[in-house]
Symmetry: D3
Subunit: 238 residues, 6 copies
């Protein structure tokens, strides 16, 4: 099956890192299609950035959906940006299901731990994580924390941020009784193993989590409900 991993920002190196990490855990028969926003902003760190990112995500989904050959049309999409930038529009535009890395990471954590923490970056994007937590209703089990560094820090690897994540993770464990940690930014896959080792709790990378969820939806033959919210004009039934 073909899964498009859509990076709402224009930084191809982040897309590449994300897709590489996800490839390691995808099904053998899954083909991952790396999609980088052709226009917009180099990272999504504000609500203005999200407007640009959402527009890019929608345009890319519409472009892929317009593929002449059905085989070139993705079976599912993954939004590879914390906060799930552009998810609602993409869910409506895509024929197949769309999974955000944030919602995927939260669901995954809920299967492994009673309480858990997102560690996002930078601190000013905490609201974007809160928004997804609230949409899912997980506020009684999840906290949102931050390492206050710009996303640009991770465009060429994230290992140099390990100490900061270990320190914040320890605070999450001690103060919030977190039993699992969610990496709150795309491009942090490098941190999964060393952080899990340092903290002794599961560390969840959302793009990988989202790919497996997307694979599962496709395997079940499920896609977005068109009944109401995610319907498409002309197709809606209410």
């Amino acid at each position: 099956m073909l899964i498009a991993i859509v990076n709402p920002n224009t930084t191809a190196s982040m897309t590449d890192a994300v897709v590489e990490a996800a490839s390691a855990i995808a099904r053998p028969d899954t083909e991952l299609l790396a999609v980088t926003a052709p226009t917009g902003v180099p990272s999504i760190e504000s609500h203005i950035d999200e407007v640009h990112g959402s527009a890019a995500v929608l345009a890319e989904v519409e472009r892929l959906e317009a593929a002449e050959s059905a085989a070139a049309r993705p079976d599912a999409y993954v939004i590879a940006c914390f906060g799930d930038t552009g998810l609602p529009g993409a869910r409506e535009a895509a024929t197949g299901p769309v999974v955000g890395m944030t919602e995927a990471a939260l669901m995954t954590a809920a299967l492994l731990a009673h309480r858990f923490s997102i560690i996002t970056m930078p601190a000013r994007t905490i609201e974007q994580s809160d928004r997804v937590v609230r949409t899912l209703g997980l506020g009684h089990r999840a906290t949102v924390r931050a390492v206050d560094e710009p996303v640009s820090e991770v465009t060429s690897g994230s290992l140099h941020l390990l100490d900061l994540f270990v320190a914040e993770g320890r605070r999450a464990i001690a103060d919030d009784r977190a039993e699992a940690i969610i990496l709150g930014c795309a491009g942090l896959a490098d941190l999964v193993a060393p952080l899990a080792s340092a903290l002794g709790v599961p560390v969840i990378e959302g793009v990988s989590a989202a790919v497996t969820l997307a694979e599962g939806l496709v395997a079940q033959g499920l896609t977005t409900s068109r009944a109401l919210t995610w319907g498409r004009p002309g197709e809606v039934r209410s």
Copy 2:
């Protein structure tokens, strides 16, 4: 003071109707600036429409903020579309405060009634209202209902929809114990008086509510916090 009323869709007749209605309740010293999206979609009835609307809102706010003369820069903005399309980006881009018609209507209802209902249109946009209800936390007092007609129905007045709104309003009163009704779409100002008369409860028009809130914020010298969520890159303090 100068308040820009930003219509995220491209239908100028809706903007005009909205601004006219708001003018009737604005302060004598308030000047309302009608802003219609120059590009995008003629109405916001889906999540895809919201992507286009959000981009238009942001572009218009940025255009107005770039005015050479300070006097031409709005003191505040009102988002004139139910669901508060584009609010987060606008709040970040604008120097002055930004108020959405949905959040304004909900706050107004909460001052007048214990329980209340939004009647939005069409039914497929219920989620957009739910999103604002959830952001404010008013789910224990507010319900969201719909008259399932397209927004295009209201581009030249809404009085022909009165019977549908009366019927749905009666259901809200009987089934949800609603004590006030929020008109869940811009351009329904015509309905306020006849619907209130038919139902015997307050009927709230969100753009008018938002204009008075915006006036109040400006009068208090308050604007969006730049501390974290709504900060602007380079200005942020965390």
Copy 3:
């Protein structure tokens, strides 16, 4: 328009300070009527105090509503005590709308910031703030903190409390990620400017916020729903 600012306690100097502060932000055509409880308690710092304060508020509203000339009857009321002492009875007794300073401050903060904190005083009145937060449903965005000083401290100005509020505000910003601060007591208007300056976030004074909300409701021709909860015996429709 005529807005009565009702202080549920008997300390006229607090009423004067509150009305003076509100005058600075009220509309030019708004007349503020200072109302001090003629009997009761000098400050509201307990649930017993609230019983006395609520009785005084109701009696004063009933007295004003009984005015022979319609011109002398307030168009709206503001409750000038944190916790919104006596609000429910006043809302029922008054012809025009009634706005509490606590609910007004919380709504105002929600328009400016993702998360925010009330700093009330003394600490034993935290429950009263929690009660309003819960009624509005803002528990996911608001925290309640306290400077543990008696209300009597503010009867002749509040500037000497600045350091305590700065310290508690810094804790709110650091520990709760507050992006705006609500002054949790009437009579603290002196603190707005220096506290905002020290903390770098908006500081909200509830009486001013309530006056602008009341002005807005009157401008829209809205008043309390009489449908059920706030109906008046003999007038109720259910």
Copy 4:
């Protein structure tokens, strides 16, 4: 032990009926002291009524607490009015614990049933029940319904209302999946047996429930915490 049952309204026949019903279930060594508001209103059916009722409750508690002989001072108090009128002030003024009939009924129902409904009267007092439900956090398990009759209907027995309560109870069972019913007004003890028989689910009378809770608190030697919220000036520790 001596338990004062405080009726916030002035109708002694309701107090008598309430105390008689509670006597049937009280411990043999419990003495029930009937307290009727000497001044105020004949029934509590509005927020204005609650102001008068709260003042009467506080005055009566303070009068009883001032008893010269310790033996004449109640060991605990029960508030015998739905909505728990005057509870916060009474809790602060009384040396012993204070239990409201509404909170007691809700706790009792939660021990017996997954979901349950209050049937209050008249409909305009639904908010008062909602307030207690919200304070306890039971909104996910409790609904509030009403028989829309004035409280005056029950001053000389309630059996003539049986059919109305049966009909509303059946709606609660069918529509809300209620598994127990709470009688939402003092003075309905006559209905317990026939309603339980007609509906086939437990029917809870709040004053009786509150008396047993108060007995239990006294037996455990527990009383209201004075640490913060329910402290008393001069005694508070924060």
Copy 5:
């Protein structure tokens, strides 16, 4: 009346201590029947332990319900283990009402204090307390903390743990604004008096609280609803 106190673990010394403490507060006409799990685990400190404990609780309730003489059948049951191990099955199997020590302690605290904390042990059982808090909906008023010692520490008295509970209780008061403390483990009755003395707030022992609630239910002639959730096959009405 006969109340069975069911200890889900096999440690008879804990049952004895619990029953002895409860005897001191039970009604003179209450007979307490000590029931220790004949098989299973010596303490309940994990979810696996709860499986064994639940099975033992159910078997014991079924054994007691099968008593030939009605007089030997308990009028009510109390589950004497924090987390209320086995409560749902017992509630279904028993003719009389069943009260868990955790739910009883939480209800008792809610009558005495605005905010309160459970101090459980060991830390790995926090989820079990969270589960009961969530079932009751008290998350806005209760926090769960822990002294991280194994339950085996309390099999022969708990006074040696006093310092640890005092320290954690002080943190609850300072950090969570707790106004009452719930002892989060059976067998801690020794701590009630010295901890209350050290902290200056009410300290609640759940088995005692549960016994008084059970007495009250029996006095009111109430038992578990058989309507739906707690019905018994063959007897169910839906």
Copy 6:
């Protein structure tokens, strides 16, 4: 990979049907191991049944974990009973992750629809679904409904129940605005296609959903956190 599908009841025909349905959607390299409770009850329709089912689940997991050869030990487990009977103990006992069919179905629905309904059976098991909804926090998006038939109805196929599910599904769509339906019982896989066709919304079968989630967790190398709640005695870190 080897995934054990554990049926907490003793009806092997249900296990077979469940495993057959799941096989159709599992990865090619996934081996599904059918596990039927060797002792206990033929269906799980009450809280007593859950005690027996939980014990059986735990015993089977422990038996499989004790396998001498690592290859015979499951990589993950799926609980194939609505309400996720025995999940907590299994999660603790298993080396690999454990996924319940109810939590899996709810997460899947949340990816496809704004609001959705569980249709469980019989009606007396609604509480078990509510419990999972509450644990995940999805009460603002999910409702629980029932077809009131005994589970025994589905031991040899479920197609004869189609009309009942269609009728209840239509009520969910009309009254709750459900946009997807979750089949609330194992053994209903036959209904997925015809129900989806009749209702026009996605229909989710929980065991299939759980298998894909379990596959994803194994692919990511993730398992249950041992930090606190799901730790194992001797291994715990707090």
